[in-house]
């Protein structure tokens, strides 16, 4: 397409002047100070080794996968690591398919240098059979949205994905100990990678007017600036890499100042990454807890007999319902989003999706419930429940809600989930307001289960 030139985006002279003038008074067009970093959000996918990073408007996804290969001849007992950067045409109209451009290659090289040469990832632990088989780690970085400063965001995505990646465990077997058996995740838990330290990249932009410097340039600032420098440094202050390819000349003092700033930023970003990974690991562990044979099942089974359902299924589903409810209670600071729910889970889903992946993990359990939901949630009479629960000696007037409460409580005790939004309410002494809210939320969500939005009744014809 020869008319590509007509499609390239150029910053107007007015915008250029505006950005430079604003910088002279220490103002940036998105309201930040020159040395302020944008908000960093790290989310994880369901699988191990997939991370989604948003730095302001910049959006990058990282995926890590592994494969058994032959090692390099010079390094027979070390694994290999390769980074593939995809400047997806999605991110910017000027990104094209095909061979990566200069900036794509430069980005890949900076991240590669930061990870490989600083020995951040332990390669020797990836060796399975010296000289024959080692693990090759492949990091794919997809740039989805170019809002400026792709290097930093992609670096964080690569690190986050590496920290949450788990490789399958393998053991040597066979006649002469030369055969390698790779255990699937169901048999043996996969192992995390050994990461010694986290090299964080911090990018600075230099402008040709009076040695002005900004940290974390946005897309428009990148079009205006005269030079850039990326410093890869880890939390303990070790410099892993510095990249300054051409551009305006910068005095030594400025460079030293940049290095110090970078160390500070690296500390906060490292903390950010580690917190996010912690949360993901906790959630991953919670997901693994099997829920059949617990005291919760016993508790719920009393109601089950009354309802006449299969114990195991309902116990599971009610546990998961209560779990997902608790997740929702925690995740939704404003109940108004729930009250707007007119029976379509889509609204809640979309707001959750952008903010937190955890709700997604539990919501499918809830909405895509088994057919055992069908007959009973419709047919359960609140009065009937009241009678049955009164018989159990629960003094709570709201029957439905109390059953959910008791599940919540026991579920909470079982899983030790920390409640920061709503205090763990025991069925006996909870405040009225909390119960009110819970009732309204419970009522709404159960109605969701009833509404056949995502479920299809069997057609009577065919």
């Amino acid at each position: 397409m020869d008319s590509r030139l007509a499609n390239t985006w150029r910053l107007t002279v007015n915008e250029k002047k505006f950005i430079e003038t604003a910088l002279a008074s220490d103002l940036r067009i998105d309201g930040r100070k020159p040395l302020e970093y944008r908000k960093l959000t790290i989310n994880f996918g369901r699988e191990d080794g997939s991370a989604d990073v948003q730095l302001g408007h910049t959006h990058v996804m990282g995926f890590v996968s592994s494969q058994l290969v032959q090692p390099y001849r010079e390094r027979p007992n070390e694994g290999t690591m390769s980074i593939f950067t995809e400047f997806s045409p999605m991110a910017d109209p000027s990104f094209e398919l095909g061979r990566p451009g200069e900036s794509a290659i430069e980005l890949g090289r900076i991240i590669d240098r930061g990870l490989r040469e600083s020995r951040a990832v332990d390669m020797e632990s990836l060796c399975v059979l010296a000289g024959k088989l080692v693990w090759a780690i492949r990091i794919d970085l997809h740039i989805l949205d170019n809002g400026g400063n792709l290097v930093d965001a992609a670096n964080v995505a690569a690190l986050a994905a590496l920290l949450t990646f788990r490789r399958p465990e393998c053991s040597l077997g066979g006649d002469n100990g030369q055969e390698v058996v790779v255990h699937p995740p169901e048999v043996k838990d996969p192992l995390p990678l050994i990461v010694h330290h986290l090299p964080i990249a911090v990018t600075f932009g230099f402008f040709s007017t009076e040695y002005t410097m900004v940290v974390d340039p946005t897309h428009s600032e990148e079009a205006v600036m005269g030079g850039r420098m990326t410093v890869t440094v880890n939390a303990s202050g070790d410099i892993c890499a510095i990249q300054k390819a051409g551009g305006v000349g910068v005095p030594q003092s400025e460079i030293m100042r940049c290095l110090r700033l970078a160390s500070d930023k690296a500390e906060s970003i490292t903390k950010n990454i580690k917190d996010a990974v912690e949360a993901f690991n906790t959630e991953r562990m919670l997901r693994k807890i099997k829920r059949h044979s617990t005291a919760v099942a016993a508790n719920v089974s009393i109601e089950n007999d009354v309802k006449g359902q299969k114990d195991k299924l309902t116990a599971q589903r009610v546990n998961e319902l209560s779990m997902s409810q608790m997740e929702r209670l925690k995740l939704k600071p404003d109940e108004s989003s729930i009250s707007q729910n007119d029976g379509l889970g889509s609204e809640i889903r979309s707001s959750d999706q952008i903010s937190n992946q955890r709700a997604e993990g539990n919501a499918p359990l809830f909405l895509g419930g088994p057919s055992s939901w069908d007959p009973h949630t419709q047919g359960v009479d609140p009065d009937f429940l009241k009678a049955s629960l009164a018989a159990q000696g629960k003094s709570n007037p709201k029957a439905e809600q109390s059953s959910e409460d008791s599940d919540d409580d026991v579920a909470m005790q079982e899983k030790e989930v920390s409640e920061d939004v709503k205090p763990p309410s025991l069925a006996t002494d909870s405040s009225e307001t909390v119960e009110e809210q819970k009732t309204s939320i419970v009522k709404k969500t159960l109605k969701d289960a009833v509404k056949p939005k995502n479920r299809r009744r069997k057609k009577t014809r065919s």
Binding site: G45, R46, L144, S346, S371, N454, R456
Partner: protein
Amino acid sequence: METDRKDGRTPNQLRPLKCSRNILHRAHGSASWSQGETKVLAAVYGPKAGTKKNEDPEKACIEVIWKPKTGQIGKAEKECEMIMKKTIQSICLLTINPNTTTSVIVQVVNDDGALLPCAINAACAALVDAGIPLKHLAVAICCCVAEDGSVVLDPTKLEEQQMRGFAYLVFPNSALSALPEGSSLVNGEPLEHGIITSVTHGVMSVDEYLKCVDRGRAACAKLSSFLRNSLQKSQFPSDMSSKAA
């Protein structure tokens, strides 16, 4: 026949659907669509000047770029691109902007079965988000045929591999129209009964295929209403303010 599915769904039950629009800032239109664990992100840039070499300059040209999660782009990806391109071409009004190219970029975030239908749904939502003129929307679904001949909707990846055969079907979305009922009929049948695209894998008999089509069409009615509702809801205020150049 009730086949016992691993996640407890009935054969006619779809996985939970999630759709969100306007998630990217540079793209003209973007949407993400997930069915259960399968998640696809689609972005639209359009219309750009000029068409590709072998394309008809009297019409608008659609370009689809499929980006897999990991790995090189191979023949399977090219096939998906081609199928999506033909599907989208049939729903777009191509004569409005002649000699232009609209690019649809699809990024696979997670693949857990029914990937191509998910991608088509995402692309449709992204086209709406970008404001590309369309004749009507399209909804896609995957129906598979189990060993015993029963039809199962919206399989997960494991289920897909165990089934005898499966079909990806794309139907037009039912249009809300002020016109009287008869005017949207094609050959006496309502518009929604037509099949835009059908791709099958594996072996199935003619009867089983027709059963798939019936079930799929009925399920697509639900998908249509979900798509329409999620597209009609107002944008989040944060997106409006952050939509920069």
